[in-house]
Each structure stands twice: as structure tokens, then as C-alpha cells.
């Protein structure tokens, strides 16, 4: 390692650490790692000022493979460590890598609180709908009826929809991508990197060992045009191989209509920047097989960052009272003298 200042000429490979990557061959995590490194290089991210914080699970090994600063923490607690780090060091760029079990089960509480505070941390949730590292138990995003080692008769649990939860928790940025749709994944990661505030990205990630094919509906060449819908700000919601289908609002419900029969103006127009979260929430409820699943940026709004508000209070207090004097604090307002 050299301590020479880095110029913005790093290539994706320069963001790789010297550790051997230990995910199973064929795991979706590889693609995410590759796109992340691409985005780092593209944005010229300073390795010394970038920190990847993770929890526990297959996804959470991610920091070991990045040649930045990294912290592989404990199960579910990555948001807490990322929050403290960002508050203490606003100058750092903090990314957080987590999984469906880590973020939504054991760490559910921290997940909603980092979002509602709008801490300037980018969160990548690798959703494979299974516990991989513990060898195949169902997760909080597994579908009802899912048969696993811990649910031999099928899971009776209603799954969490991560984007619905994120929006309910006041997320200022929420997006979804798929591991193997690398161009789009790269686009979404770049959008997340540029968002100021908590950016939440759900990534459909295939666990080819314990839950292979969970996202086939969205990746299969034959069907994906009908089962997914790419969101674009300001554009009508259109999908299908020949863009022959669109989404129209019927009361409070999205319905699939034929673009041949319905004018583009009458289709639902995507607006990721509206302050009202209702549209983003509505989109987060669209789920295969009832409707196509939206991909892309659901919501991207500007709100004050937590760290800025905290720093502002400190600046205000100093402006009002001057830099604190320790001796005055120690002595306190009421004293008496013994002679």
C-alpha cells in the first residue's frame, strides 16, 4: 500500500482488496460486488474516505473484498455502527451492506430508525429470500408456504416487502435492482451514491445454493418483459415486450391496460420526487404474479440529513455561548470557599 495521494484514475480492480472472495460459485453477490467497484471507479471514490459497514450473513462479507475501510459488525447492527460513524465523521462516505435476515429480522428496529433519521448512509440490501450462511432456513422475505429446513410444511409467515417498509419508515431514497441486470444495477447504485441522505436499495440476489431461481420470474428472457417494469421519472408506466401494456390508476388500485386502447396521458406517470410517499408506496405493493414488479428508483426526495441537523445544533450552541470552557463547567455556577 502506498500513501501517495490518489488521483481519480482508479479502475474497478483497484477497489478490490487482497482477500479471496469466498461466496459460492454462481452466487449473485459477485455481480453486485463487480458493479459496486465499477461505480466506485466511475465516481472516482476516494478509497481512504470510503467505509463499507455490514452486519452478518453472506452479503455482509462484502467489506472484506473492498480495498476501502471496512467494518464487518454483528448481526443486524450495521445501521447503528454506520450511524455512529457518520455522525462522528461527516467527511466519510459510508455504505452499508446487509441482507434480508440481517436488516429485516434481527435488525428490523435499527433499519427503520436509520431511515427515518435520514442519516447519509447508502444501504444495499441483498434480498435472496433465504438464510444462506446458516444453510437454508426461511427468511422474513420468503413467500408464504415456502418449504425450507425450518419450515418442512411451508412457511406460515407473511413476508415483509422491503421497499414498503422503507417508505413507511420515511426513506428519502428507495430503489430496486436485480443482480444480473448489471447495467441497471450500476445505474441504481450510482443514483444511490449521488443521493444525499439515507439511500435504500433492494437488490434481488439469487442464492443458487439454497434458493435458486427465486427471481427467475424477473430474469427469465422469455417472461421478464411482462413481469417487470422499469421506472423512469416523469414517464408513464409501460412494460411488455413491445411496450404494449401500461399501468393506469383505477381508484386507489393500479390496473394493467393495453397501450393500444389507453392514451399515454391516462397512464400512471412516475414521479420519484413527489414529497407525498403514497405513489412510491403504491408501486412497492405491486408484486408478481398479480402485477409486474417495478424496478428502478421508487422515491428520491430531498430532506435535511440527520448529521447536518446535529452539526447545526452544535454550531448554533457555539455561536450563542462561545466555545465551551471546561474549567467553568467543572467549577459550576454555585461554589463556596473554605479558607
Amino acid at each position: 500500500m502506498s500513501s501517495a495521494p490518489e488521483l481519480n484514475v482508479l479502475k474497478p480492480a483497484d477497489y478490490a482488496s487482497d482477500q479471496d472472495v469466498r461466496w459460492c460459485p454462481g452466487c449473485g453477490d459477485y455481480s453486485i460486488l463487480a458493479q459496486m467497484k465499477k461505480v466506485c471507479a466511475k465516481l472516482g471514490m476516494d478509497r481512504s474516505k470510503t467505509v463499507f459497514v455490514s452486519g452478518i450473513g453472506c452479503s455482509s462479507r462484502f467489506p472484506y473484498y473492498m480495498n476501502t475501510y471496512g467494518f464487518h459488525t454483528i448481526h443486524g447492527r450495521a445501521p447503528t455502527i454506520a450511524t455512529g460513524l457518520k455522525l462522528a465523521r461527516p467527511d466519510l462516505t459510508v455504505w452499508m451492506v446487509t441482507g434480508d435476515g440481517d436488516a429485516l429480522s434481527i435488525g428490523g428496529n435499527h433499519f427503520i430508525h436509520i431511515l427515518r433519521r435520514n442519516v447519509d448512509v447508502k444501504i444495499l440490501l441483498f434480498n435472496n429470500r433465504i438464510y444462506g450462511l446458516t444453510k437454508g432456513q426461511y427468511s422474513p422475505t420468503s413467500e408464504v408456504g415456502k418449504k425450507t429446513k425450518s419450515t418442512p410444511m411451508g412457511s406460515p409467515d407473511n413476508p415483509i416487502r422491503p421497499i414498503s417498509l422503507a417508505i413507511a419508515a420515511e426513506a428519502t431514497f428507495a430503489a430496486r435492482a436485480i443482480d444480473i441486470d448489471i447495467k441497471h444495477l450500476e445505474y441504481v447504485l450510482e443514483r444511490a451514491a449521488k443521493h444525499v441522505g439515507t439511500a435504500f436499495v433492494e437488490i434481488y440476489q439469487n442464492c443458487n445454493i439454497f434458493n435458486d431461481g427465486a427471481f427467475d420470474f424477473a430474469t427469465d428472457k422469455q417472461s421478464k418483459a411482462d413481469t417487470t417494469l422499469y421506472l423512469e421519472h416523469g414517464k408513464p408506466l409501460i412494460f411488455g415486450k413491445n411496450r404494449e401494456k401500461g399501468i393506469r390508476l383505477h381508484g386507489m388500485n393500479p390496473e394493467v391496460v393495453s397501450t393500444a386502447e389507453v392514451k399515454a396521458d391516462d397512464l400512471l406517470i412516475h414521479d420519484e420526487r413527489t414529497s407525498d410517499p403514497s405513489l412510491a408506496f403504491l408501486l412497492s405493493r405491486m408484486r408478481y404474479p398479480d402485477s409486474p414488479e417495478p424496478l428502478g428508483v421508487f422515491r428520491d426526495v430531498e430532506q435535511p440529513c440527520y448529521g447536518d441537523l446535529v452539526a447545526q445544533q452544535i454550531a448554533d450552541a457555539k455561536a450563542r455561548e462561545g466555545e465551551g470552557e471546561i474549567q467553568k463547567l467543572i467549577t459550576g455556577p454555585d461554589t463556596w470557599t473554605v479558607t
Binding site: 500500500m1 502506498s2 500513501s3 501517495a4 490518489e6 482488496s17 482477500q19 476516494d46 478509497r47 481512504s48 474516505k49 452478518i56 467489506p63 472484506y64 480495498n67 476501502t68 475501510y69 471496512g70 467494518f71 464487518h72 459488525t73 454483528i74 447492527r77 445501521p79 447503528t80 455502527i81 454506520a82 450511524t83 455512529g84 460513524l85 455522525l87 462522528a88 465523521r89 467527511d91 466519510l92 428496529n109 435499527h110 430508525h113 445544533q313 452544535i314 448554533d316 450552541a317 457555539k318 450563542r320 455561548e321 462561545g322 466555545e323 465551551g324 471546561i326 474549567q327 463547567l329 467543572i330 467549577t331 459550576g332 454555585d334 461554589t335 463556596w336 470557599t337 473554605v338 479558607t339
Partner: protein
């Protein structure tokens, strides 16, 4: 009558008509309903006593419920203050004067009053309904159940109302002033000036609520004049200034001292303080205190739960901040896994545990010392953590600074083990000179430490790894909770490496040099009996040792501040005494440690009543031990009325 005396000035000489007796020390307790303002009355009495130069020690004692049903036993809130003309170490074994604002307060507190002591009752609150709520079948004022005390019946409600009737306040607001009438009476009884409290009233209400300020001032004066004029209170007492070491003093509670200690430590280290916490009794005042230090650049973070609080502190420590989290026993239980992460990643962090009665939710507002083994061992794996326990409210300042010195020098989380008694209790504090305090030298490496390479787990002679922080070009590295390879810090599952790392972490903690006194000593270097203690029991044990020495017992007291690692010479100390008694507010946790480590037949004196030791309990326990009456491993302090209370307060 009241209107006449209210017109007189205070201290106009008329008090001289009554006899005034000088006594060495006095213990007063204010007791009433949670809503009666007893904590405020007690705090004001304390502040005034400190300002007139007495030594002081206080014991606030309040219920866990903010407002339990009015008038019930569960809702009684008390504040005890011991003030003296000489050095004192405890809030007083027995009470000289009790102010009981209602029957419930009388019932729960009168047993603490010395025989012959003064019991001032609010005569207006002894109606049939009040008595019923307190569980009295008939009025204790009418039978002889209070015969051993000097009961003074004062119609406090009516006198207060008369004093504030022209204030323009509502009836309810007027009634809320009555604590200051009671305070005024006590000020007269113990010859204290009114000015400090009058100043407080102006400061607190003066501008915003002038009518409230005027009413409180009026009833305070009325209470004082009532004492002066009415024959009821009898003679006046006086406690001269204490002969404390010369210097400037302030009053301080343990929680305040922790807050100030954190701010001072940050300044000594040239760093910003980061304190993350989740509200919990009795540690919340630390969070509130740090939240008020913004002009010092301190970040206070109220987390969503105990785990987030420590997680955020660990994140801040990774970033290079001087980080701490604080809680009580239940919170420590929740933080355990994260403390292990800080041990594994070897990051500096202070974890404050203000102990309270347990297990589970236990007794939130009462004190106990039952978390020692939890903080020593309550984690998975071999997970050693240094433990420092302050001995008194003011010692919390030094102990906090020391905790940060140890944490940063040895790159480790440190447990600071306070308790509810010293956290809320107060005493005078000789104000330290910040400029004379030793700075903390902390270095963050900026270059590789092994040729071209940076090795995050390459240790120095203290056994500490470098504190390289993000933002440093060329030192990019990854840490985490998985076992580390020695020197490189890479993930390692190698059996020999794991054993080496477990031993390296243990050796680092075992080799810690205390950053302050490892223990506090009282008495000769050897003798018949050693009282071995730790934490908030310091005052009671020291006072008991002095009392026993007066009785001719060859006794010493060793009060351990560094519980992990234990003082290097503790083994030798134990050998120099024929007998060792360990008084603790638990079932024998330090005792278990010293018996295990030093193979010494230490016996215990144990109390788990949510209350601190009285001096008498320790004197009696030690005497029993010397008579050979502690045959088993420990003696449990009785919950019966102590016999020492038969001494009349008037006998001085």
C-alpha cells in the same frame, strides 16, 4: 398570626430569644407524595447547607412511578440529607428530623428516625381518607404509637394558604407551594439562611412566572417565621462550618460528575465526545447532561434502543471519536454482544453502568451492586473487559477520566461501574484545576507500520493495536467480529491463532496499569480485620472502619477502584490480615472473585434491600464476625429496626 410574622424581616434578632444549640451533625429527611416537591425541598436544603460550609451527603429516594396514586405508600418520595461540621461519608444512619407531608410518608419513614427525634407532620393531611390510603386504621397522631418521637403537628396546608392567599394563584397552584413552607421551617430549625433559595426562586420563576415566584418566597419566609414565633418547634440547632481542606468547593452528584468527566476527558484528549444512550433509570441524567454540552462540540445521540446506543458509540470510536455509552444493568445485558465486538475489534469505548436493583426490571430507582459479575463475565467467549468503579459521587469525575485513559491507551472497551446511590447522591467537591490535569496522548498512525505494509493488529509494548482511522490514505483495512489473525488482522479460523489471540487479549487487560488509585485505604497496613469493598459503599465502610478503630479494633479498609484487573498487590494485602470481611450490596460478588483468585477465606456482609449500608450495619456485622458469628460464607443484613436507633438525637 401568619400575616403578622410575614411582615417581619428575616434574621431581625428575634430568634435570639430562643435557645440555639450547637450540634456536630444532623440528618434531615423530607418525605411526601411524589407530587409534593420533596426532591426540590431536599435539593434546596442541600445547596444551602453546602454554601454555608457544611460537609454534606445526600440520599434521594423516590418511587419508580412518576405519580403513583396520591397519598399511597407506593407514591412516597423522600430526600435525606446529612450535614456536618466535620468530615462525613454517608447520608446518615438515622434521621434527626423527619418532615412527613402525609400519613403515607409518616408510615414509610418514621422508623428511620432516632428515638427522641423530631417528626414534623402536616396536620392537615390526616383526614379519614388520607389515613385509609396509607393503611392506617386510626390516626397514629391520636394513639401512643409515635410516643418514642417528638411529634410536632403543624397545619402546613392552612398556614401555606394563608401565606400565599394574595398571590392570585389558583387553589391548586397555591397548594403546590407548601413544600417551601416546610423548607422554611427547617431553615429556621437548623439556622440556615433563606437567601440561596430566594435567589433560586427568582432565577427559576422570576421573569416568566412572577406570581409563582412571589408565592414561593412568601411561604418560605412564612415557614421560617413560623418556626421563630410559634412555640411548637422548641429550640434551634446550629451546625458549624466543616473544617474541609482549603479551596473552592461545589456540590456534585455522581451522574453530574460523569458528564463533566467525559467533557474533560475529551478536552484532555483533544477530541470530540460522542455519547450515545437510551433513556433508562438511573442513567438518563448522563444523556441529558451531555445533550447540554453542545458548545463543547459533544455529540449526544438518543438511540432507538440499548444496542443501537453502543453500536453507534463503536462506530464513532472506529471513526476516531472519544466514544461512550451509558445505561443500567438491563441495558448492559442488551449491549453484551456489542461489547464483545469492541473487545474483538479492540476499539476504545467507555460503557457506564449505573447499577440498580435487579434482576430484570427489578428496582429501577433503588441502588444495588449486583452487576459486578455481569460486567466481568456476562458475554460469550473469553471476553475480558477492564472494570473501574468510582467510590463516591465526586470520584465519578476522576474515574470517568481514568476510564477514557485506559480505553485509549489499551484500545479496549472499559466498564465504569457506578450505582444509583452515588449517581443521585451528592457531596461537596474540591474543584479540580483542569490546567493541572495530565493530557491524554493519543496517536492515529498515518503511515505503514511494517515496511510498506500497514498491519492493523501489530501490537505495541502495552499489547495495544494501532488506532488507524478512516480517512487516512494508505491505511485502508477491514475489521470485524470474526477472529483475527495475529498481526495482520485478517479473518482466521486457525486453531493455534485463536488460542494465541485469546491469550493476547487477556494479557493486555491483565497488564493494565491503573490510571489512578487502584484502591483507597483506611487504617494501618496490617491487623486483625480488613474490610474489603468497592464502589458506592466506600463512605459507609470507611466510616465504619473509623468507628471500629475508635472501639479498639485493629481494623483497616481497602476500597478497590480497579476491579479488573484487580490491584497488583491485593493478594499481599489480604495476607496481612487475620480476617477479611467483604461488605457488598449484592450476595457476594467481589467475595466470589477474591476467594477464587486468592484462595482467601473472605466472608461477606451482604445487603440487597435497594438501600445503601448504614454505618451501624457494617460496625455490627464486623463485630459479629470478630465474635465468630459469621460461620458460613456470609451474613445477610437484617431488615429489622437497628438497635442503634435508641440513641437520642438530643444527646448529641
Amino acid at each position: 398570626m401568619i400575616s403578622t410574622v410575614a411582615e417581619q424581616g428575616v434574621g431581625d434578632g428575634s430568634a435570639a430569644i430562643k435557645p440555639r444549640r450547637v450540634v456536630p451533625d444532623v440528618t434531615v429527611r423530607f418525605a411526601g407524595d411524589s407530587g409534593d416537591g420533596m426532591q426540590l425541598a431536599g435539593t434546596q436544603f442541600t445547596d444551602t447547607s453546602a454554601l454555608v460550609g457544611n460537609d454534606i451527603s445526600t440520599l434521594p429516594d423516590f418511587p419508580a412511578e412518576i405519580r403513583a396514586p396520591a397519598g399511597t405508600l407506593a407514591g412516597v418520595s423522600g430526600f435525606q440529607i446529612h450535614f456536618s461540621s466535620s468530615d462525613i461519608f454517608t447520608p446518615g444512619d438515622a434521621v434527626d428530623a423527619l418532615v412527613a407531608m402525609n400519613p403515607a410518608a409518616l408510615k414509610t419513614n418514621v422508623r428511620s428516625v432516632k428515638a427522641g427525634g423530631i417528626v414534623i407532620v402536616n396536620d392537615d393531611s390526616f383526614g379519614a381518607n388520607d389515613l385509609k390510603k396509607a393503611g392506617y386504621a386510626s390516626s397514629p397522631l391520636e394513639d401512643d404509637s409515635l410516643a418514642r418521637w417528638r411529634v410536632i403537628r403543624v397545619p402546613i396546608d392552612k398556614l401555606n394558604q394563608a401565606a400565599v392567599k394574595d398571590s392570585g394563584l389558583t387553589a391548586k397552584q397555591m397548594d403546590r407551594c407548601k413544600n417551601f413552607f416546610a423548607l422554611g421551617m427547617c431553615y429556621w430549625l437548623y439556622d440556615r439562611p433563606l437567601e440561596p433559595t430566594l435567589d433560586y426562586i427568582v432565577q427559576k420563576f422570576g421573569k416568566k412566572l412572577p406570581a409563582v415566584a412571589a408565592a414561593n418566597a412568601a411561604t418560605l419566609k412564612a415557614g421560617y417565621h413560623f418556626g421563630e414565633t410559634a412555640e411548637l418547634l422548641g429550640e434551634q440547632y446550629r451546625v458549624e462550618k466543616a473544617k474541609l481542606a482549603p479551596g473552592v468547593y461545589r456540590k456534585i452528584t455522581g451522574n453530574e460528575a460523569v458528564v463533566i468527566g467525559m467533557a474533560a476527558a475529551a478536552r484532555l484528549a483533544g477530541k470530540e465526545l460522542f455519547y450515545a444512550s437510551y433513556p433508562i433509570t438511573p442513567a438518563s441524567p448522563i444523556l441529558e447532561g451531555v445533550a447540554d454540552l453542545k458548545e463543547f462540540g459533544a455529540v449526544s445521540f438518543q438511540a432507538e434502543d440499548e444496542i443501537c446506543a453502543i453500536g453507534a458509540a463503536i462506530g464513532a470510536a472506529f471513526g476516531g471519536a472519544l466514544a461512550a455509552t451509558g445505561t443500567s444493568g438491563p441495558g448492559v445485558a442488551l449491549k453484551s454482544e456489542a461489547i464483545g465486538l469492541a473487545v474483538m475489534t479492540e476499539l476504545p469505548l467507555v460503557v457506564v453502568d449505573v447499577q440498580r436493583g435487579g434482576p430484570s426490571t427489578g428496582l429501577p430507582t433503588k441502588t444495588e451492586q449486583a452487576d459486578l459479575l455481569q460486567v466481568m463475565f456476562g458475554r460469550n467467549g473469553e471476553c475480558p473487559v477492564p472494570v473501574i468503579a468510582p467510590a463516591s459521587p465526586s470520584d465519578c469525575f476522576a474515574a470517568t477520566v481514568e476510564a477514557f485513559r485506559v480505553a485509549t491507551r489499551y484500545m479496549t472497551p472499559v466498564m465504569l461501574l457506578s450505582d444509583g446511590y452515588i449517581a443521585n447522591g451528592s457531596e461537596p467537591w474540591l474543584v479540580p484545576d483542569f490546567a493541572a490535569m495530565e493530557r491524554m496522548t493519543i496517536t492515529h498512525p498515518t503511515t505503514a507500520n511494517d515496511g510498506e505494509e500497514f498491519l492493523p493488529y501489530l501490537r505495541n509494548t502495552d499489547g495495544s493495536r494501532p488506532w488507524a482511522i478512516p480517512g487516512t490514505p494508505g491505511l485502508e483495512h477491514r475489521i470485524g467480529g470474526l477472529e483475527k489473525e495475529d498481526v495482520t488482522g485478517s479473518v482466521s479460523y486457525d486453531p493455534a491463532n485463536h488460542q494465541r489471540m485469546v491469550r493476547l487479549r487477556a494479557a493486555k487487560v491483565a497488564g493494565i496499569e491503573p490510571a489512578g488509585a487502584a484502591y483507597l485505604w483506611t487504617g494501618p497496613q496490617s491487623g486483625e480485620l480488613l474490610l474489603l469493598g468497592w464502589g458506592g459503599t466506600f463512605g459507609a465502610i470507611k466510616a465504619a472502619a473509623l468507628e471500629l478503630a475508635k472501639q479498639g479494633v485493629a481494623v483497616s479498609a481497602c476500597h478497590v477502584r480497579y476491579l479488573n484487573p484487580l490491584p497488583a498487590d491485593l493478594g499481599d494485602i489480604l495476607k496481612r490480615f487475620a480476617k477479611v470481611l467483604v461488605p457488598e450490596l449484592n450476595m457476594g460478588q467481589l467475595r466470589l472473585l477474591v476467594r477464587g483468585k486468592y484462595l482467601v477465606d473472605a466472608r461477606g456482609l451482604n445487603k440487597v434491600q435497594g438501600q445503601p449500608f448504614t454505618i451501624g450495619e457494617i460496625v455490627e456485622g464486623a463485630a459479629a464476625f470478630l465474635r465468630g458469628e459469621i460461620a458460613s460464607e456470609s451474613r445477610i443484613v437484617s431488615t429489622e429496626l437497628p438497635t442503634a436507633q435508641t440513641v437520642l438525637s438530643s444527646e448529641g
